[in-house]
């Protein structure tokens, strides 16, 4: 399992009626780094070329791991 980034995840708890058939589950959703990271600058920290090719981005700031144990109810 790769490194998780809980800071990219948000959670909410919709109303749960006592008559709802299934146990309540918190709803998680992701705010990917494109929402919060500043735009590309040359001063930004970079992955090595090989790691960047694997990850799909040159910049750690824009990397978003998935799946996440946050959503699975693992880490908080």
């Amino acid at each position: 399992m790769e490194k998780q980034d809980p800071s990219q995840w948000r959670v909410y708890h919709p109303y749960h009626s006592p008559f709802d058939p299934c146990p309540a589950r918190p709803k998680h959703f992701i705010i990917p780094p494109n929402e919060t990271a500043p735009f590309q600058t040359s001063a930004r920290k970079q992955y090595s070329p090989h790691e960047a090719l694997r990850k799909g981005t040159l910049w750690p700031d824009y990397y978003s791991p998935y799946p996440s144990s946050v959503r699975d109810g693992g880490a908080e």
Binding site: I30, F39, Q40, G56, Y62, P67
Partner: protein, 189 residues
């Protein structure tokens, strides 16, 4: 024009014989938020966008075709040796009676691709916000497919594709910022 390199943008390996996974992946092939929609949308919009962001639409539109090719490879590998019985068990009998094991541009529910999925409004901000939304929807689709497979090799390729959608969205947001600045940076002689 384009120059074709006879290799995939990112390796595609399939570790399990699981034609059912092909049925899910086809959403990103011929679905509303899939790679075909993305490529055709961007490459078409670029003719009527301010010149500073034309290159971005060309770059991303071209990359979407590379993604389309990755999805096609996954679907092909997952179904090429499937028997009619296996296709049926995977929920692909409707596909089989029309296409045998050939690929086709439709979504996971079998609805054929349509140009009605995409838009070119001619208004640069409207078009770029559509593109940003398209990238977020494609990212979400990849998440839901990843959630539904335990093939580690497919998951590896899908994670790469998902990350590319995040970077594309970021770059379209940058394009919006470039448009906002347009008059300020215009040289008047």
């Amino acid at each position: 024009m384009w120059i074709y390199e006879k290799k995939l943008q990112y390796p595609v390996r399939v570790s399990k014989c699981d034609p059912h996974l092909a049925k899910m992946l086809i959403e990103q092939y011929g679905g509303a938020d899939g790679e075909l929609s993305a490529a055709l949308r961007y490459l078409n919009q670029r003719y009527t966008i301010p010149d500073k962001v034309i290159g971005l639409l060309t770059d991303i539109g071209t990359e979407e075709f590379a993604h389309l090719e990755m999805i096609a490879t996954m679907v092909y590998k997952l179904t090429k040796d499937a028997t009619p019985e296996q296709m049926k068990a995977a929920g692909l009998v409707d596909h089989y009676v029309n296409h045998d094991n050939a690929l086709f541009y439709h979504n996971a529910a079998g609805t054929p691709w349509t140009a009605a999925y995409i838009q070119a409004k001619g208004d640069p901000i409207a078009d770029l916000y559509e593109d940003i939304a398209a990238e977020e929807k494609a990212r979400a689709t990849y998440q839901w497919i990843i959630d539904n497979t335990d093939d580690p090799d497919i998951v590896d390729s899908l994670k790469f594709l998902r990350e590319r959608e995040i970077v594309h969205s970021l770059r379209f947001r940058e394009a919006v910022e470039i448009l906002k600045e347009y008059n300020a940076t215009q040289k008047v002689f």
